[in-house]
Symmetry: C2
């Protein structure tokens, strides 16, 4: 592997953050092996966004893994019997939290990374303009990285794997500015928790509000297509 390009597995949801994390991974010289999940989320249009982003950034490969997380229930994003809230929620962990989602996604990325001899996994988590999910915090990422190196051949062979979180300390506006500088086409990204079948955002959910404010703060025209234009 001495002459080969260094490899990274990059988690891509189709949203603004993960698209930016992918562009950053690519700008750092990684051959990017991109992983998305079809996990019963309301917005299958998110996966179409992921495919479009992966193609436009000319990644090494893009795989979509099917995961029946809706069987477990417990989240408004996967359980159709729970409504997505349209107003900001009180303190605490929101109902849109999917149980152990980043843990599950990172674990599957870890399995693939081990097979690929990848040296890093990129994930677009953010602990500034975020929804308060516990699995977006730096202390979670550090604990996952430690566990990952005990779980796999990497730790044994002395080739530790790193969990890279290039967005973790950025505001939404800073994320957008970083992505614009790297040529990310944000019109292809989809952040809404309840986009319609044509990929149009609701404009009201927590994710839409954070995104819209990010474009405003960055001084960038919002390219999002909304249901009520």
């Amino acid at each position: 592997m001495t002459q080969a390009q260094k490899r990274a597995v990059v988690l891509l949801s189709g949203g603004l953050d993960s698209a930016t994390a992918l562009a950053i991974a690519k700008s750092k010289g990684y051959s990017c092996h991109v992983l998305s999940f079809d996990y019963g989320q309301r917005s299958l249009t998110e996966l179409n966004a992921a495919r479009q982003i992966a193609a436009s950034l000319e990644v090494a490969e893009h795989r979509v893994l099917r995961l029946n997380l809706e069987d477990f229930g417990g989240s408004a994003l996967t359980d159709k019997s729970i409504d997505v809230p349209e107003d900001a929620e009180d303190d605490g962990i929101p109902i849109t939290y999917v149980p152990a989602r980043n843990t599950v996604f990172l674990s599957l990325a870890l399995g693939w990374a081990e097979v690929l001899h990848a040296e890093a996994i990129f994930i677009g988590v953010n602990a500034v303009d975020y929804s308060g999910y516990p699995d977006c915090r730096p202390e979670f990422i550090a604990a996952f990285e430690k566990m990952a190196n005990l779980a796999t051949k990497n730790g044994v062979s002395g080739e530790p794997i790193r969990i890279e979180t290039p967005l973790i300390d950025l505001t939404k506006a800073e994320i957008i500015q970083a992505g614009m500088a790297l040529g990310v086409d944000y019109s292809a990204t989809l952040s809404c928790y309840q986009a319609d079948d044509e990929g149009r955002a609701c404009g009201h959910c927590d994710s839409c509000r954070l995104r819209a404010k990010g474009f405003e703060d960055a001084g960038v025209a919002d390219p999002t297509r909304y249901v009520e234009a």
Copy 2:
């Protein structure tokens, strides 16, 4: 939840170890929510064994989650282009190791545990008579537990989740003796890496050898059905 029975998620492969771990969880008074995976392993008969064991131990519920780990390749257990070795391998991590398998399984168990408000996840890993997989070691389990409580609502709400490994320090013979005392029907379990379609074991692979020696050391007649009887 004060009057309700305490809950556990129990990982069940259909093998000897996980069947014993399930019987132990039940004996400790847990309502057992059992999780198995259809992850492209060679032995789908393993899943039939899991269903039979779950039914005979009268668990609260049993779910089988489909996971396309074979897409990643890299293991003789999921990649049909790699032969399962029939002789003991040299030192090091064997080719039958599935990348990040226990990490992935525990992560999905964690998501379900969070929804169920379960207080424990049981996994039948063993660091004595085992195949040298890194994700069977006590230090891996401890790191996973720490990560899990940072990842989920549990850690935030002050209801930490425990990863229970009742077999970790037992020899295979001790595992069998513990299971016999709890009424486990080992004739229903399947440990072979390459069982035939009728659930008969090869008798030669690493898993078969460890199991046969366990029955011998325990002084228990081996109930395994072998291809060459």
